[in-house]
């Protein structure tokens, strides 16, 4: 694939504008006129690159999923000497990444459009959501092998840690639509109590 830098820049500008528009107004609510204007591009160019509105939307989703896929949780598990430290580090990484404004907004978009584009929802779920959980499970398994934790089914444990930490803040953010609906202190205390419950179940 030839990468004309000018083309690439225009394409990126359009995708950026599309992200903003779709995330704010949803698929139906966003208009290609507004997207083109925000990207300082002409509709002509938008349609030339992406075919139609649906093509633009799909390109946007896979673009983001690919980035999530690449930037997946890297944690040097060997640097930690006890289970509590491992779990706390993992918990912080997870909350920091998932409760990020952009991530929350994007997830809301995917959920909102899952009825219209079932394949897109599935792609995101498998490519981003489950992929992250799989990585977490690997880390927990490795900690378990080193005797820091006692985990028989790492995948389930990873799911549970995520649920403990994210259920409340994620729902509050998505339902209220306010991406700053959770204070620093709440995140902190939620993390602390979540880690405590997890350790009660999986440290010896």
């Amino acid at each position: 694939m030839i990468t004309n830098p000018r083309v690439e820049a225009t394409r990126a500008r359009i995708l950026n504008a599309a992200l903003d528009a779709f995330v704010l107004d949803g698929y139906t609510g966003a208009s290609t006129d507004v997207i083109a204007a925000a990207a300082a591009a002409s509709k002509q160019t938008v349609y030339k690159y992406f075919g139609d509105k649906e093509g633009l939307f799909r390109a946007l989703i896979s673009d983001v999923v690919d980035r999530v896929h690449d930037s997946i949780v890297r944690l040097d598990i060997d640097a930690y000497e006890d289970g509590e430290a491992v779990v706390r580090a993992l918990a912080r990484l997870l909350t920091d990444s998932v409760l990020d404004r952009r991530v929350q907004r994007f997830r809301r978009l995917v959920i909102a459009e899952a009825a219209r584009f079932p394949d897109i929802g599935r792609a995101y779920y498998e490519g981003a959501f489950e992929h992250t959980l799989g990585r977490m499970a690997d880390l927990l398994a490795s900690a378990s092998e080193r005797g820091l934790l006692h985990i028989d089914e790492p995948r389930i444990a990873a799911n549970q840690l995520a649920g403990l930490l994210l259920w409340i803040p994620s729902n509050r953010i998505m339902m209220t639509g306010r991406f700053d609906a959770i204070s620093e202190a709440e995140v902190e205390s939620g993390l602390e109590s979540g880690v405590r419950v997890f350790l009660a179940a999986f440290r010896d």
Copy 2:
């Protein structure tokens, strides 16, 4: 308020049709033409009762929130003699109600439109979501007072139980758009392992 049965029936038919349409296509995607047709009503009548599209949407939301509010978890906590039974009963009640197709679809709708109607999202979050958690917290507190569990902060514990049980299935359902994405067996094993973790932390 005079309750003309004919008026009431027409109104109910319109709200039912609106629920289906909004849940399927979102606020922007649903059309009042389709809603009126599905309700076997004329647009004239729809607009007479609800003013405009937004009025119809708001009426629908508060209608549903009121119903959730009324049918809130009632569980005879005194019937149980040990903590495990209490938690298991609570867990089943919670998963059965929250993972219900209609509930999931409605929550997705609220999330999808939270940006467009922030007050609606907040009303649902406080009137339905938090209300249920509060009721759960009461039950856990009562079990704790009877010595069946050891819970210092019932509200937090209720949040955590919900997160343990619902994070994965709820996300899978909403993101894939398939409301049968979770098998009976998965629900069962998720419930079992969630209860186990919860008990490890809160039983003695």
